[in-house]
């Protein structure tokens, strides 16, 4: 039998977890890679909130419909010549009296390389199982929820929206390119088709999956040495106990509860 047993039900554990989500704040990541003809670099921020709590004995907490809010800054770089046809003005010859035939050299347009900067913000819902992890970190006991495995993210709807945003950004990036006029619509379509929904989904997965693969919420932090009573005068110093061992579990009976067991000793 533990010295101290504390139990809370699913209703009470919910704000505890949501507070831990809020405490985690916003995470940032950046990276780069290759997407078809494009060189891609990105920076991303993400935060988590909400989720319906389901306690599952002996040690699983399922959070259904966690909201992941994220914002991306993605830059796509490509050489337009890789998607647009070579455009050359043919040689033109003019017969000039007393001079003879004069010809202009053929002129070919060198399509430049462009960068398409794209900003995209969205949110998605996902469900994840967490295991309980209790450990002593320095002077504190902590109870963490650590995500199990890799939660599945439904990215297709967001991918469609991202692709549309890329199209708009491409139009803005291509507009200043000389001689692009007749090719503008086709170039935007080519860029969108090159990436396609599948590519956008893959890109989102590449960027967002690391955010969810290691989620760790600290739901309880308590000092190993605890002050039970404060000092009450020079002859009555503070009274302290030491938390020698802490464990957490999910216990199921007629309801599911988060149970904390603690062994203590005089400090």
């Amino acid at each position: 039998m533990s010295d101290i047993t504390a139990a809370i039900d699913e209703v009470a554990v919910t704000p505890l977890i949501h507070n831990a989500e809020a405490a985690l704040g916003t995470s940032s990541r950046s990276g780069s890679g290759r997407l078809g003809s494009f060189d891609v670099s990105w920076s991303a921020k993400a935060s988590f909130s909400g989720g319906a709590v389901d306690l599952i004995a002996p040690g699983t907490i399922r959070l259904a419909d966690i909201t992941m809010s994220y914002s991306l800054g993605v830059s796509f770089s490509l050489a337009l010549s890789s998607i647009l046809p070579v455009l050359c003005l043919p040689s033109v010859c003019v017969n000039i009296p007393c001079v003879g035939e004069v010809c202009t050299p053929p002129i070919c347009i060198d399509w430049p390389s462009i960068t398409i900067p794209t900003s995209f913000s969205d949110s998605l819902l996902f469900t994840a199982d967490f295991r309980l992890e209790t450990y002593l970190a320095g002077a504190d006991w902590k109870v963490d929820l650590v995500v199990e495995g890799l939660p599945s993210l439904e990215l297709t709807p967001a991918a469609g929206r991202l692709l549309s945003t890329i199209g708009d950004a491409a139009a803005a990036a291509l507009a200043p390119v000389p001689f692009i006029g007749p090719f503008l619509g086709g170039a935007i379509l080519l860029i969108k088709n090159t990436i396609a929904t599948a590519g956008a989904r893959g890109l989102l997965g590449l960027i967002l999956t690391p955010f969810v693969s290691g989620i760790r919420y600290t739901v309880i932090t308590q000092p190993r040495i605890q002050e039970v009573l404060p000092a009450a005068g020079p002859s009555d110093p503070a009274v302290r106990i030491q938390l020698d061992a802490v464990s957490a579990a999910i216990v199921s009976s007629d309801e599911d509860e988060f149970v904390l067991s603690v062994d203590i000793s005089p400090a």
């Binding site: 010295d3 101290i4 047993t5 504390a6 039900d9 009470a12 002859s235 203590i264 005089p266 400090a267």
Partner: protein, 210 residues
């Protein structure tokens, strides 16, 4: 049956944990178990509480005395103490407590050797109940002794006299021992009490919500 039952939070302090807190309390503040007039304790410190001499006509300066308790050991119902002295029993919902009390009296005149000190030690058993106290806005659980038994003191009237005196003393020593409800959750949760404290199965239990 779930631990939280119809509430959302449950906390239990087992008698082992209660004794750890009691030990911590009296180890930090031993003066609350150790009282004496200036011959024994010249000044109040963490170690002891200096008390006035007992004035009595014809005794210059008054009677020098001291009393000391060992750290009490608490046992929550059901009785797992190994046997209480009759007529004490441990009813449901109560705790028992055992300690040893030592009494000193200086029997000489002022200036004489302290060899003239007489002392006696008595094993004391007590039964009591828990009470909720609000201390500086914090809900706490405290101990109150209702009955004391000193085994083997005769005549019985002397036993009753000493039991009365020692019950008041031990209650005074225990009065500052108020365990915050938060300590009963190891600090993890702040609880608003809705039910308890209730003593059962060797622990004190409380229910509430966050």
């Amino acid at each position: 049956m779930s631990l939280t039952q119809s509430d959302s939070l449950f906390a239990a302090l087992h008698e082992g944990g209660a004794n750890d807190i009691t030990q911590a309390f009296f180890r930090a503040r031993p003066r609350l178990l150790n009282y004496g007039s200036p011959l024994f304790i010249p000044a109040t410190t963490v170690a002891g509480t200096s008390m006035p001499r007992i004035s009595f006509p014809g005794v210059p300066g008054g009677l020098e005395w001291a009393v000391r308790f060992t750290v009490p050991i608490v046992d929550f119902h059901p009785d797992s103490s190994g046997g209480m002295p009759p007529p004490l029993t441990l009813p449901p919902g109560r705790f028992s407590l055992r300690s040893t009390v030592t009494l000193w009296m200086f029997c000489g005149r002022r200036g004489e050797s302290v060899d003239r000190v007489v002392e006696t030690s008595l094993d004391l058993w007590a039964v009591g109940s828990l009470l909720v106290r609000n201390v500086d806005g914090t809900s706490t659980v405290g101990f109150r002794v209702d009955a004391v038994e000193l085994a083997g003191v005769l005549p019985e009237t002397l036993g009753a006299f000493l039991e009365c005196m020692i019950r008041m003393m031990i209650n005074a020593a225990l009065a500052p021992l108020n365990i915050p409800l938060k300590a009963m959750t190891a600090g993890a949760f702040t609880l608003v009490l809705t039910r308890g404290p209730l003593i059962e199965t060797d622990q004190v239990e409380i229910w509430g919500h966050l």
